[in-house]
């Protein structure tokens, strides 16, 4: 049967136009639809910018304001991070009070010691998987996804800041994941810092109790309280001879 080449075209023109019209409408609908939500998507929070290298978080601890036997900072840290109070040598301790007494002079002091968040952390150098790392804003952390629990960082730390989790844990704080077989240490309350809180749990508790021994702030900001205080009065770093440049400074030692 001979078909007129022009005839099928003429016949299908309205059909094709119609199809194109429907397709265009459909595409427009698909393009617009994501903007129209009948049901709210579960999570519509804003995404934070992340850690900034312009900032260097640090702490200043005035031990002249620390009383022997006072453990407000330790208790606050335990509550904030979901750590059980320590009773055995296998229990993790992120911050502890060390009572020191100078042998020659007899002068004593009470010093809270935690991870010093060094600028040149030996724990970061030795970690085989890179789980121990320094964040852009100076906080030294353990990435528990990569930690294999070799404890080399515990051997390397001069301040005994790191603890190893010796038994299974339950009821962790949602903000502070921690578990058996990994190594952990003070995080400078990174979960609070990242959501905008201006201070750590230990500093806040010390201030609330009226001692005011711990100050937290940005060491890179000359106008911050911590920068002003360390400019005004002498402060020292623990084991400064090791040249690790810790972010935690002490007064009264």
């Amino acid at each position: 049967m001979k078909t007129d080449p022009a005839a099928p075209l003429a016949e299908s023109k309205p059909r094709r136009r119609g199809f194109l019209g429907v397709a265009a409408a459909g595409m427009a609908g698909v393009a617009l639809a994501p903007g129209i939500r009948l049901i709210e998507i579960a999570q519509a929070a804003t995404v934070s910018a992340g850690a900034s290298p312009k900032v260097r978080w640090g702490m200043l601890i005035d031990t002249t304001r620390c009383a022997e036997g006072c453990t407000d900072c330790v208790d606050a840290c335990n509550t904030e991070n979901g750590i059980a109070p320590a009773t055995r040598s296998t229990d993790p301790q992120w911050i502890r009070k060390i009572e020191i007494k100078e042998v020659k002079t007899g002068r004593s002091a009470s010093v809270p010691v935690m991870c010093q968040h060094c600028a040149e952390p030996p724990c970061v150098d030795v970690c085989p998987t890179g789980a121990s790392f320094k964040r852009a804003d100076g906080i030294v952390l353990v990435d528990r996804h990569s930690c294999i629990g070799c404890r080399y960082c515990v051997m390397a730390c001069p301040y005994k800041a790191r603890s190893f989790v010796h038994e299974p844990l339950a009821d962790q704080k949602p903000d502070v994941p921690r578990g058996k077989g990994c190594v952990e240490s003070c995080t400078l309350c990174v979960h609070r810092i990242d959501r905008g809180d201006k201070t750590t749990a230990c500093a806040e508790a010390c201030a609330k109790a009226g001692h005011g021994a711990i100050v937290f702030g940005d060491l890179n900001d000359p106008a911050s309280e911590i920068s002003q205080r360390i400019r005004a009065a002498t402060s020292t770093q623990l084991r400064a001879d090791l040249h690790l440049d810790p972010g935690v400074r002490y007064q009264g030692l």
Binding site: R37, I39, E40, I41, A42, Q43, A45, T46, V47, S48, A49, G50, A51, T79, G82, F133, R135, A136, D137, L141, D143, R144, H145, P168, L169, D171, Q172, K173, P174, P177, R178, G179, K180, C182, V190, D194, R195
Partner: protein, 147 residues
């Protein structure tokens, strides 16, 4: 010049091929049985996954079939952004998943075998260790418990 010794001289067969003896046949039969038997025994032991509904009035950040295939990839990439770069509140936040998918009865995604994450993972026999460290309870409940 001596004839160099064959390296296998010390072994009983001196490196020459042997036919399986009675002991060998018995051993092979035993190994095969050990491997194949569990496939036939105990069918229907593992309960099928129970898909508990998430919080009412919400929608997942990705369609279900996308999530089913890719949730591990999303979470793995997101965790590096969160831990290393400090990015919080991003699309694939684990905490947001838990907040939504926690069971109404147990207030957890991993407490009982019918809870959301554990249900599919125990059926698929893929062990997850997320909740050895991460809390499996939604934020509000965990905060209540700590008070």
């Amino acid at each position: 010049m001596t004839n160099p010794r064959c390296a296998f001289d010390a072994s009983p067969s001196r490196g020459r091929r042997q036919r399986t003896g009675r002991a060998g046949s018995a051993a092979s039969a035993w190994v095969l049985a050990t491997i194949l038997l569990p496939a036939y025994a105990g069918e229907g032991r593992t309960p099928l996954p129970v898909l508990e509904a998430a919080t009412a009035g919400t929608q997942c950040v990705e369609p279900a079939d996308v999530m089913r295939r890719n949730h591990m990839r999303f979470l793995k990439h997101q965790r590096d952004d969160t831990v290393r770069a400090g990015v919080r509140g991003a699309k694939y936040s684990l905490r947001a998943c838990v907040d939504c998918h926690a069971s109404q009865k147990t207030a957890s995604v991993a407490k009982v075998e019918t809870n959301f994450c554990v249900s599919c993972h125990s059926y698929a026999a893929v062990r997850i260790d997320c909740f050895e460290c991460h809390s499996s309870r939604p934020q509000a409940v965990a905060q209540q418990a700590s008070k």
